[in-house]
Amino acid sequence: MVNVLLFGRLAEICGQNNFVFEAKDTDAVCDKLKTDFPEMKQFSFALAVNQIMITGNTKLKEGDEVALMPPYSGG
């Protein structure tokens, strides 16, 4: 199982900010969320695995933390 964290608008779309489910890689995480919450497809986001930014599909192992982050808007 992996721990999926959602932030900003993405958490709002999914109705919660945290999911735990089985996924072999980050593409599988995104595919599942986009299937369950089609509105997710409209928005771009960055991905981090265990708090490290990733680009491209990344393999996941038990207990990994995957964060889906829309563009930052602090300050």
Partner: protein, 149 residues
């Protein structure tokens, strides 16, 4: 506040008060190697949205663990790049109303140029790179996700 602590506390609940900012300045009076301070304060603005609704506040959330690490790296870069005596960064979480302060960046150095340039550098990097999101609250209670800017 321990100056050399690895990860400094950045996030504060609610707005950053003018009193807190004044106190931060006052704490530096004993540091006689400082010749210049520079401060940036980000204040929540009453933007008028397309539907005519006015922003009454911004609710901030962060991916705190990652944001803290990002800020640590930004701080390290700024210390390497500029000759600074002190650097303090505070960002609000939760609701900050229009007219209140949500970001406070404070740099100090022996001479003005380092403090001024480092402050600008920090603000730009914080806005671009730190895992924080703001949701604007409108008069009607509607919410709009703040655009990066």
């Amino acid at each position: 506040m321990i100056e050399e602590k690895k990860h400094k506390k950045v996030f504060v609940k609610g707005p950053i008060s003018p009193g807190f900012i004044a106190d931060s300045l006052a704490k530096h009076a004993a540091k006689h190697n400082i010749g210049a301070h520079s401060m940036f304060m980000g204040q929540v603005r009453a933007d008028v949205k397309e539907n005519g609704q006015v922003v009454t506040g911004i609710a901030y959330e962060a991916y705190q663990e990652m944001a803290t690490e990002t800020l640590h790296n930004i701080r390290e870069d700024a210390f390497a790049k500029y000759s600074l005596t002190c650097m303090h960064i505070y960002h609000s979480l939760g609701l900050v109303k229009t007219g209140e302060i949500s970001l406070f960046v404070f740099t100090s150095s022996a001479h003005r140029r380092a403090a001024l340039e480092a402050c600008d550098y920090l603000v730009e990097r914080i806005k671009k790179e730190v895992q924080v999101w703001g949701k604007e609250i409108l008069e009607s209670g509607e919410t709009v996700w703040k655009q990066p800017g």
